[in-house]
Each structure stands twice: as C-alpha cells, then as structure tokens.
C-alpha cells in the first residue's frame, strides 16, 4: 500500500505541476462562460440595421405586415411561456420576462423614412455610397422593401439589399405577408375573422400519464424527464473524462519508459503496485478536475436555486431529480469501473511503446472502440429499448456509457445486474491482462509488434523482444 500511495502521489503531483492541468481546470468554466456569453455577445455586437419600407398599395399591406408580425411574436411568446409553465410551473415574473424578451424592437432592425420612395434615389444609400440621416446619426441603408399588389390577390415584395447573409428581416416580412394573404383569402370567401382567430387558438389538451401510477400522481411532469437528461449528460461527461484521462496515462507511461525509470521502480515496487499507483494518481487528477468543476456547478446551481426560490419555483424538486442517488450511485460506479478498464488498457499500450508514434498504431482500434458509445448513447436517448442498444449494453467496454442513459428509463433488473456484472468481471480480466502486458513491456520483452503479431492470423508470426 505504501508504494501504491507514493507512486499515486508522485503521479498526481507531476500532473498538477503542469500547465496542461491548469488549462484543463480552467478551460471548462471558461468554455461554459463563453457558451453562455457568446450568443449574448453576438446579439449585442450585431449592428443595428436601418431599412426603408415602401408600400405601393397606400399602406394596406404595411399595416397588415406589422399586425401579423406582432401576432406571430405573441404566438411565439405564448409557446415559450407554455414550455416554461410545464417545466417550472406558473410564474408571473417569468412570464413578464419572456414577454419583454419577445418585444418587436429587440431584433435590431429599425425602420426609417428616406424622404423618397424612388429606388434610384435610394440606391446610393443601399450601396454605401451615401448615408441616411437617422435618429442615431448618418447610417447606411440595410434594405429597401417595396410591397405591391399589381393584380388583386397577387402580393409582391421586392427586397433590395447588398447583404446576402442576414435574411431575418426578409423572412419576417415574407411570413407576415403570407399569413395576411391566407387570412384575407378566407375572409373574402366568407369566413368570419372572429372564427378564424378562434380556430387558431384551438389547442388540444395533452396529458402524459404513467400507467404505473394512479389518479393525480399519474401525471408525468417535465421534471421527471430530468434524470434522463442527467443520464445522457453523465454518459457524455464520463466519455470526455475517460478520453482525456487515459491519454494522460498513455503519454505519461511513454515518457516514463523513454526516461528508463521503470526498471529502477521495479526494484522497489511490484508491477501491480506501479500499475495501480499510476491509475490512482491519474484518477486523483481527474477527481480534482471533477470536484473543481462540480464545485463551480454547485455554486452556479445554488445561485439559480436562490433566483428560483425568489420566483417561487420548485427548485428543490428539480435539484432532487438531477441529483437522484439512484442515478448518481451507479454513475460513480460506472465511472470507476470504466476508468479502470480503459486506463489499464492505455497503460499497457504505453508500456509497449517507446514513442507516441509507436502508440498510434495500437491506439487506432482503441479509438474506434471508444467512439462507438457516443453513437450508441445518441441512439439510446430516443430508443432505449432498441435491440442494438440493448445488445450494446452487454458489451462490457460500452456498458458504462450506455447503461447511464438507459438506467433512468424503464429497463429490467436482469439487464442491469447482468451487464454490470459482465462489465466488472471484464474489468478485472482487462486489468490482469494489462498487468501482464505492462510487465512485459516495462522490461522490453514485448512491444507494439508483439500485439500486431497476435492478429497475424495465418501469417508468419514474429517473435518480439
């Protein structure tokens, strides 16, 4: 135990002393901050667009367009409010916040008057050769939109702009015109406008119920789906952590072999102690990362909880669903076994190789093995009972990832216990086998050619060492 502790400690300290560790530590919160901040930054950094709208029908189409846009925005706001209500319950403050965010002026498009409706006179403003006087000072013209109805029932929009990428304004006005045309067509054919409005408001009442429960309790809420979301997030998180950590193990092992330290170590500690020490040392590194990131997430979660509490939102219920011990316990177990399994394999690969280039040959098949769970997890989100997903759950190298997604869903205990047992037994075999390979590799009795020779079925097998 002493040697395992000392080797693990040395490994841990050697990683903590590197720039890479600190970059990894800070990268996740940094990227999360960027992830949240970027859309806001992009939205705020987008310049205000000034456009001219010329209605050649004398204002009829213009009025209809803005009316339809207002109605469309209200529909969107109602959809967001409804989704929020399902997830978080009724909340007036939240509703007000949603209404505010859906205001028409928030798009950054401002209609201006150019003092002319003639395209030729507007053209210099559109091409940037001249600037239009606006309330914000002289500005280039983003677009000039001409609405007309040359033949009754045939509405036309001529959209003049040098910007070929930002098409939001064009889309909004086109949609509004289309809605107006549909409405007018119905009205002209004798349909009562009040009837149309009433028809548009018709919505089925959908109740999702769980047959395992009765009466009021049978209603399925959105918060009940959170464990599934959490399972998927945990599976991806596990994959990312294992992927990054095993690479650390691999490079450290190759470096150690290159430094020719292993034989000196072997005179003080046994192979299994070195192997275990290294695995634990790197596990401690990943645990440090996870604890730090988890700490930040908890602080963020607490802050959100405070906000939600102020808004009278059932935060405790949501957090309880997210941190359900029935999910967290297996997640930790799967993580440990998955890490040990992949870590041992990568350590063994490292011990067989002198350089990263040597390792790449052996890494390629392992990378394929590691990529598969990503696809399977995505498949398992929608179809946890798919035969492919069910079979893949029994493949021990993939069990940790797929079962994390399937656990919150309704699968049989036999499948859970059986696949977990298979995974644990396989992990033990893999660790034992990796120990044997490690011992051979550490003393140069085997190298990557040895592994290759195992797969030269029918061909001439090379002896290594």
């Amino acid at each position: 135990m002493r040697n395992i502790y000392l080797i693990a400690r040395r490994e841990f300290l050697s990683y903590v002393a590197t720039w890479g560790f600190w970059l990894s530590l800070l990268s996740v919160p940094l990227f999360m901050a960027l992830g949240f901040g970027m859309p806001i930054l992009i939205e705020n950094s987008q310049p205000t667009r000034y456009y001219v709208l010329v209605d050649e029908t004398g204002g009829r189409l213009e009025e209809a367009v803005f009316e339809q846009i207002a109605r469309s925005r209200e529909d969107q706001a109602e959809q967001v409010r409804e989704a929020a209500r399902e997830m978080l319950g009724d909340n007036p403050q939240l509703g007000a916040a949603i209404d505010n965010s859906m205001q028409l002026d928030n798009d950054g498009y401002i209609r201006v008057e150019a003092g002319t409706t003639d395209l030729n006179e507007l053209r210099p403003y559109l091409t940037g050769d001249a600037e239009l006087e606006t309330a914000d000072g002289p500005q280039p013209l983003f677009a000039a939109i001409f609405l007309s109805e040359p033949v009754p029932g045939r509405v036309e929009m001529a959209y003049w702009s040098t910007n070929l990428t930002d098409r939001d304004l064009r889309r909004d006005i086109r949609d509004a015109l289309r809605d107006y045309m549909h409405l007018r067509h119905l009205v002209e054919n004798g349909v009562d406008p009040a009837l149309i409005e009433a028809a548009e408001d018709l919505e089925p009442v959908v109740r999702e119920l769980n047959p395992e429960r009765t009466d009021e309790a049978a209603e399925v809420t959105e918060s009940e789906r959170l464990p599934i979301v959490m399972g998927v997030a945990t599976a991806f998180g596990l994959w990312i952590v294992i992927f990054s950590v095993v690479n650390m193990l691999l490079t450290a092992m190759i470096e150690e072999k290159g430094n020719k330290v292993l034989e000196m170590m072997l005179a003080s500690a046994r192979h299994h102690e070195i192997l275990t020490g290294k695995l634990l040392g790197v596990a401690a590194v990943s645990a440090t990362l996870l604890i730090f990131w988890g700490g930040l997430a908890s602080i963020g979660g607490l802050a959100i909880q405070q906000l939600m509490a102020a808004a009278d939102i059932p935060a405790a219920e949501i957090l309880a669903a997210l941190f359900d011990p029935a999910l967290l316990g297996p997640a930790i177990g799967y993580f440990i076994v998955g890490y040990l399994m992949y870590g041992a394999v990568f350590l063994a690969i490292g011990s067989l190789c002198e350089t990263i280039q040597d390792a790449q040959t052996l890494m390629s098949p392992m990378m394929l093995v590691m990529m598969m769970p990503l696809f399977l997890v995505m498949m398992a989100i929608d179809a946890p009972d798919s035969p492919i997903v069910a079979i893949a759950s029994w493949i021990p190298l993939w069990t940790p990832f797929i079962m994390l997604v399937r656990l919150p869903q309704d699968i049989g205990m036999i499948e859970i216990i059986g696949s977990t047992l298979g995974m644990v037994v396989t992990a033990m075999i893999v660790i034992w086998g990796a120990g044997v390979l490690f011992r051979m590799g550490a003393l140069n009795q085997a190298n990557q050619d040895t592994v290759k020779s195992w797969f030269q079925f029918g061909g001439k097998k090379k002896a290594a060492g």
Binding site: R2, N3, L6, I7, R10, S14, A17, E256, G258, N259, K260, V261, E263, M264, M265, L266, A267, S268, A269, R270, L443, N444, Q445, A463, A464, G465
Partner: protein, 313 residues
C-alpha cells in the same frame, strides 16, 4: 561464519525459445564485493533481474536474505539498473526522497540523507534544480545516490561503469569501496574485467547463459598458465635449455622473434632465469607476464564464448 545474502540455485530463463540463462548457481556472501562478469548478452542482466524478483525463473530458485525476493526484502536492496534514467521533470532532491520513501525511509530522514549525500557527491548546489538541467554525469550521480540513500545492506549494480568517463569510473570505484568498508554487500555486473580485478573479493564468470567460474580473483588468475617472455642474442635453443620446466615455443612479436615459456607446475620465473644464466644464454629481455582476469576469462570460456552477443533482454 559467513551469511549468504543472495543465492541462485540452478536458475534458468528462456525468452521466445532462446535460453538467456542456463542452470546458473552462485551465492553472494555478506560483506563481500562480488563481480558478475561476462560479455554483453551473456545473461548478467537477466540473472540480476531474477535475483530481485523482477523476472521469475523458468527453473531453479532464488533466495534473497534467506527467502524469496519479496517486497520486504527489496527494501534492504539498492539496485542500479543498466538502463539508467530518472524523472527528468522532478527536482533532484525530490527524486532522491521519492526513491528513499519507496524503500521505507521517513520523509524528513530521506530528505536529510539526500542532502547529505548530494553534499558528499559535490552536487549540493543542484538539490533544488530539475533533473533535466543536469549533465549526464551529474544525473548518473543522482541515480547512484537514489540507489544508496536508504542505506541498503545489499547493493546490486548492473554495469555501473558503462557510460562514465575515467574520472567518474574511478569515483564510482571509490564509492563501491566505501560501501564495502561500511559493511555492505556489493554485487556488480560488468564486462570490463579491470574494474572487477581491482574491486572484487569474488567473481562469477558467465558466458552464453552458463556459469564458467565462481571463486576469488586469485583463483581465477590461477587458472591461467603463468608465462615468461624471453628475447636472446645467443644461438641457444631454449626448448632444450628449459626442457622440463614447461612448454616452450617461439613466436614473432612485431619484428622480434621471442621465446614464450608457459611455466610448468612448481616452476617459477626465477627457475627459468637461473637455467638461462647457467646455460650462458645472452638475454636481452626477460619478462614474467602477469595474467589478467580477461586472460582467465578467455582461458575458461574460450575466445568464441568470450565475445559479446546480441542482447536478448
């Protein structure tokens, strides 16, 4: 009565069908400096690895401090492998403390001893430097300190002189002598016989995986025929003059014709000189040739076996 620290009994090891060590037996007694000699690829490193339990023998037994080479026994051993290297990114003192702690030395004591030994080896000023900043010679000294810092009873050095310049080879010989004087047992492998001849109480010769000799340096030298080289300017036939005193033959050395006398049992160089004087032989050269371990090795295993082999391990 001497105590056996290490004993190999009928030990064999094969790699990929190629025997590296064949039925080797020898022992190392407490307080002795034992040289483990042989050309490259003779099986020395494999034998040493088996001695420490790093490799398991296919046949035979290894006894270290009276039992199998278990971890507790390893704490009493200091091992300097042939392939030398230490953690390049660590500080010198941290490397030494790390290896000392692996051998069971308390952290504070490990640090105290490490700093003291760095002082003794003239490396005190680099204690806090990273290993990667050291010269090769300095790094090798740090590794030697790491091998000795836990004050092992038994020191095993695998080709310790390889890669060292003559000054550092001499310094290392002094270290080995000091360790022996302090009562420690030393086993070192080498293919350079001169070091063994100067240092060892006992030698074990190995070639092509088999033991060729096991005994003292004097006993090994005793295996080599004693020889006298003579040059004369008179017309005597020395094969007749020295008849009965050994094997006499002529050979050419450079441009000179010389007589070589391999002394017979009970005959010494003085007897040859006296016989020549009595026969009025005009001598211009009389040179008793001192045998070296290399001669003994060649004599014992033959020239072919004494030549280096490709390393198997």
């Amino acid at each position: 009565m001497s105590e056996t620290i290490l004993a190999l009994d009928g030990v064999s090891k094969t790699f990929n069908g190629k025997p590296a060590v064949r039925d080797v037996s020898f022992s190392v007694e407490r307080g002795q400096i034992t040289g483990f000699l042989g050309p490259n690829g003779a099986g020395k490193t494999t034998s040493l690895r088996m001695s420490l339990g790093i490799l398991t023998p296919d046949r035979g037994t290894v006894s270290l401090f009276g039992g199998p080479p278990r971890p507790a026994a390893l704490d009493r051993v200091g091992f300097l492998p042939e392939e030398r290297g230490i953690y390049r990114k660590m500080k010198v003192i941290d490397v030494i403390v790390f290896f000392a702690r692996l051998k069971g030395v308390a952290p504070a004591e490990a640090r105290r001893r490490g700093l003291q030994m760095l002082e003794e080896f003239g490396l005190a000023e680099v204690a806090e430097s990273k290993v990667k900043t050291l010269s090769k010679g300095m790094a090798q000294k740090v590794q030697i300190i790491s091998t000795l810092v836990h004050e092992p009873e038994f020191i095993i050095l695998d080709e310790p002189f390889s890669g060292l310049d003559p000054v550092n080879q001499y310094a290392l010989e002094q270290v080995v002598r000091r360790q022996a004087e302090a009562g420690r047992t030393v086993l070192f492998s080498t293919h350079v016989m001169e070091h063994a001849e100067r240092l060892c109480d006992k030698i074990v010769l190995i070639a092509k995986g088999r033991k060729a000799f096991d005994g003292t340096v004097a006993e090994a030298l005793g295996q080599v025929p004693r020889r006298v080289t003579l040059e004369i300017v008179s017309d005597h036939d020395l094969s007749q003059v020295l008849a009965g005193k050994g094997e006499v033959h002529r050979e050419t050395q450079g441009e000179q014709e010389v007589w070589i006398v391999d002394l017979g049992p009970g005959v010494d160089a003085q007897d040859i000189l006296k016989a020549c004087v009595d026969a009025d032989v005009k001598l211009t050269r009389f040179e008793p040739v001192r045998a070296h371990l290399h001669d003994a090795f060649v004599h014992l295993v033959g020239r072919e076996a004494a030549a280096p082999e490709a390393e198997t391990v």
